[in-house]
Symmetry: C3
Subunit: 262 residues, 3 copies
């Protein structure tokens, strides 16, 4: 952990390679220099990068970008929508070849845009887990499709058993579906019920909005896994984890009681 | 069209130089390196760049920036508010000299901030069309000024007849006036009525918000002309055009029916 | 003032070094190249930079970043939350040493996250004023804590008397507390009452949202001091100050009456 000066009593942060408290950032079309800039500033704090949905199809700098992340030791994976785009076209084998072509070591399996038989989804997870480390995602991108908590739990458990390394709680780039209401408010009962059954380090919560990050950190501490973080929000997130921004300032010291300097 | 791998059955996209399906991006003060980065990533997908409103007055890198865009073959024009700033000061001839000084090949004529007699507006279009390619804009920046659909149509037709290359539907950077309600919601009846009378390739719809872009693409297809796109949203927009983001995923395949992988 | 062409009758802008009309920008984790890009574009228009809250604790490029700003002649200070983080841990002397270690010439004293006896706050201002130029901030980061206008005035006056160079009206990065309602709307009665008692050039208004900037500029003119401006919004703000964006277009010419070109 970097430290330009000493502040006493900060929460302990896991260091890399982290299994807890890791940050997944979303690259939705950065240039090579922008990737370098991002890594200069946040390389220490970001654990894995997602190339958002199927942006990898259109960006002209894909191979070079993967090289830059790789040189920095930060794994990259294609957004789940790309997996679904191949499935929807009956091109699963092509997808596996694309993963090989680009030497991908991680992949996401999701069903946010298509309806997928869950055994079939677990089959994809199992097959891909022989090739790469799999993150699987639960939750629809459709705000109308509300999955009840017991079902989230059942799906997450089955996907972990099928070989997923971690399961992702869906939120999109906007933070307004899946784990969240359309206003961005956390479905807190859902999250709490999931946590009674699924180990917290196995879950990666998509939480693009600041209020969502704050909510998870207050509930689960500095070392909760958070994802869909915009590149320029990784530093702000790190300060929230450490209680160094107003939102969590009082959470990590003085037993969470207001600080009074009288 | 770039393509890092093959996905079957994507909608056909026009290629440059495009008359349909083109993307206008808004530069509201990028540095030279930021312009280079933008072009590295999105140069293939952006057709024309607007220097937002009168930002060109204050940026210190104007000439150099124009040179970089020009070298990439991407035309640039000053936002309509600059035209209006000259008109409001009775400096139309000065404006024409500014266009020459910077070798501009495109210009916008608008009346979003001032009240302009429409014959006079068409006169400006006619005069400028002898010097440059003219985009003319319809719609007020004032959320209180609602122009009824028949009047939008009358204005657009007259401006095209006066020599405008395309007409722009106003939305501002925020996407909350003109074509849109203050909430950002599309005035869909207005758009549909306009399209009964004005050819769709002659219209450039300002649509800075994602939901607005999605709405136009669902109504008019991958090759609708969209503008006021933030530089870092050109790649995301391209994926929406291609049905490679959740929002339009089901629109372009399977006849728009949900994909079921059972 | 830069000027790529001549527009008549623009409001007069103060030039550097400005005591009125200055712009404070917030850097919440820029890379070195991003700082350079920011200064290329906006160096002429930005007067002082705040390293947001305690981001300086986690960024790995702190010393180098300070060097770049220094070379451009732009003073930098740490956000008030960092001061409070040291106070909350009873490390005020450590904070003073940090200011020396990094050769800081400005510092902020605030009590947005902790409750602080006001005499004690003024004591910190007095002590730090012997070491650096002090900005002190009034207003809580807690949306629930509403300070009545007479109290804002009393606090501001006392802090200026204690040695603060300017007082800051709190708004956060989001612009939704302190001077503003949770919707972002200005507490206009509060601002007007403050201005009956505190000289306008002694106040720096945090106003991160465009509508807030517009409100202050319409009330107080082109040369109001505004802060918490995102780096890429400094150019847009400058155009709003000059009446070169739709929002203030009619404010600075024609005695604020609509321009009619008939």
């Amino acid at each position: 952990m970097n430290s330009n000066y000493i502040l006493n009593g900060l929460p302990e942060r896991e260091v890399k390679p982290r299994d807890r408290g890791f940050t997944m950032a979303m690259d939705k079309g950065l240039s090579i220099r922008e990737v370098e800039d991002f890594l200069e500033v946040a390389g220490e704090y970001v654990d894995i990068v997602k190339l958002g949905w199927a942006t990898s199809y259109v960006v002209p700098n894909l191979q070079k970008k993967l090289d830059v992340y790789r040189a920095a030791g930060i794994p990259v994976y294609f957004g789940g929508t790309l997996f679904e785009a191949f499935i929807a076209r009956n091109q699963f084998d092509d997808y596996r070849r694309v993963l090989d072509k680009y030497n991908m070591t991680f992949a996401e399996v999701s069903d946010g845009s298509i309806e997928m038989n869950h055994e079939k989804k677990c089959g994809y997870i199992q097959t891909l887990a022989e090739q790469v480390t799999v993150l699987s995602e639960v939750g629809s991108k459709d705000a109308e499709k509300i999955i009840p908590p017991y079902m989230w739990i059942r799906l997450m458990k089955a996907e972990l058993e099928a070989g997923a390394w971690k399961v992702i709680g869906e939120a999109r780039e906007g933070g307004n579906v899946g784990l969240f209401r359309s206003t961005g408010e956390v479905r807190s009962g859902l999250v709490e019920e999931i946590l009674t059954q699924v180990p917290f380090e196995k879950i990666l919560w998509e939480a693009p909005q600041k209020a969502q990050q704050v909510w998870f950190i207050k509930l689960l501490g500095a070392n909760v896994n958070l994802g869909n973080i915009a590149p320029n929000e990784v530093i702000p997130l790190e300060t929230i984890r450490l209680g160094l921004r107003g939102d969590t300032f009082n959470h990590f010291i003085n037993n969470g009681q207001p600080i009074i300097d009288a």
